[in-house]
């Protein structure tokens, strides 16, 4: 099974106030079967990191590889789920899910069946013909997930996919992500600014700190696997180990932010 590798990537933007380092010397591996979550406050470069991994953005130095081969641009081996869904609003839910299959020239009947099956996996089989504007934010993100999974990628890159959802929908989506992950065994890279979400979803967690964006801590966590083993979500999130780690991460983020501010000041 392949590994998506970010190797010593730096990204520098040119701005009016000179060069701005969005990412400095970031290395992270996303093996198949792992959920790597990048956690950080806004401005820590986590979206930049995802854009580099997706191939939307070329790193200033360093490289991204899949199975040892360098990434030169976007590709269906690394499907992306966007924060603002980025669906095609003139297409039905089903045609949105089938979009990637249409791009590779799959016949209409075949891709309709495939899209129906993906919609069923995210619990939207009854909404295949619905227009996007008839759906709630949570449903749109499910369509986005189904669309990404439909092209059978090796990796799923998720850019704060649950950021705009309300608390209850969010938790339901977290469970859906874990169930889909278990069924597909893909490598997932997910970014979030929610500590609880990061802890619950990650098998590996990297903590990013801003100015310049860099990885300051790495953790291995087991809460996602405990959920899949059958433990209820409420019990996991109330577990003292979960709470303690949440506090630790919270303190770490604050400490690194103060350090960064002191550095600038």
């Amino acid at each position: 099974m392949p590994v998506l590798s970010v190797e010593r990537v730096s990204v520098t933007y040119r701005s009016k106030r000179g060069a701005v380092a969005a990412l400095a010397d970031v290395s992270v591996d996303v093996p198949s079967g792992e959920i790597v979550v990048a956690l950080g406050a806004s401005g820590c470069g986590k979206s930049t990191l995802l854009n580099v991994m997706a191939g939307f953005l070329k790193p200033t130095t360093g490289a991204v590889t899949v199975g040892g081969l360098p990434v030169t641009g976007p590709g269906t081996d690394r499907a992306v789920v966007f924060q603002d869904d980025a669906l095609m609003p003139w297409l039905s839910a089903q045609d949105n899910v089938a979009f990637g299959l249409q791009m590779r020239g799959m016949g209409q009947a075949e891709r309709r069946d495939a899209a129906r099956e993906m919609l069923a996996q995210v619990g939207l089989e009854a909404f295949a013909g619905h227009a996007i504007h008839e759906m709630s934010g949570g449903m749109r993100q499910r369509v986005g997930l189904a669309r990404a999974l439909a092209v059978k990628p090796d990796f799923l890159l998720m850019d704060e996919p649950l950021g705009a959802l309300d608390e209850l929908t969010r938790e339901r989506m977290q469970m859906l992500v874990l169930n889909l992950w278990q069924r597909s065994g893909k490598g997932i890279f997910l970014i979030t600014h929610s500590i609880e979400e990061a802890l619950f979803l990650a098998t590996r967690l990297v903590l990013l700190s801003p100015r310049p964006g860099r990885i300051v801590q790495r953790y291995e966590t087991g809460f996602a696997r405990r959920f899949l083993a059958g433990e209820p979500v409420r019990a996991i999130k109330a577990d003292p180990a979960f709470v303690a780690m949440r506090e630790e991460l919270s303190n770490a983020i604050l400490a690194h932010e103060e350090e960064a501010l002191a550095h600038v000041g």
């Binding site: 997706a54 641009g73 976007p74 966007f82 980025a86 095609m88 791009m103 227009a131 504007h133 092209v151």
Partner: protein, 259 residues
Amino acid sequence: MSADRGRSNALATLASLGAILALWWGVTASGLIAPLFLPGPSEVLLRLVDLARHGFVGASLLQHMAASLARVGLAMLFAVITAIPVGMAMGLYPRINAAIDPLIEFYRPVPPLAYLPLMVIWFGIGELTKILLIYLAIFAPLAIATASGVRRVDPGRIRAAQSLGANRDQIAWLVIFPSALPDILTGLRIALGVGWSTLVAAELVAATRGLGFMVQSASQMLVTDVVLAGIFVIALIALAIELVLRWVERRFAGWASAG
């Protein structure tokens, strides 16, 4: 509440139309204004029926309408075929925009009547000049609307398509074009309004048929009721075009207003 408001709005529209009609009837029936200057509503209506039956200056009303609609229709067809790809290219490539935009912005504000004489010198007094004049009037607003629609496309949508394996052409025609379609259709609606109003100017030149020609020759012969009837027909067709295009917008770009 809103049904009530809708009804009272409709009432206000009917009241203002009725008042104008009553005023028109009053000043003509009382002999305050001579029929040469303003024939009464009933005369204009009768003239309209007569125009439909017997025609005017060598062609029936239907033939005049067909001639005008054919000119605008052909001009629109050519404009859609050319202005939308040009507008797409302008929106996608800043360099193409830099090359073409000044040309469009140079001729767009010039009234078509001002460059009509030049086109007669270049292209003669046949159909080509008439259609070209309307075409030019439609081209500019349509190309500009297309370009701005293309520029407003959400970059996230393009990235999504890229990561789903779409190539350049697929992104252009399956993502950017449908994204810009609401703007393109609005542009087409505005452009056709401009095109239709250029019609009369185009038909001033050696036409033998067409609504603009009919009104123009009626005015020279001081047949005021034909002038008025012709103006009403021109207005009604403009309204019909507007309504059809609004339906097209709702049908093919309804998602844009549905949010």
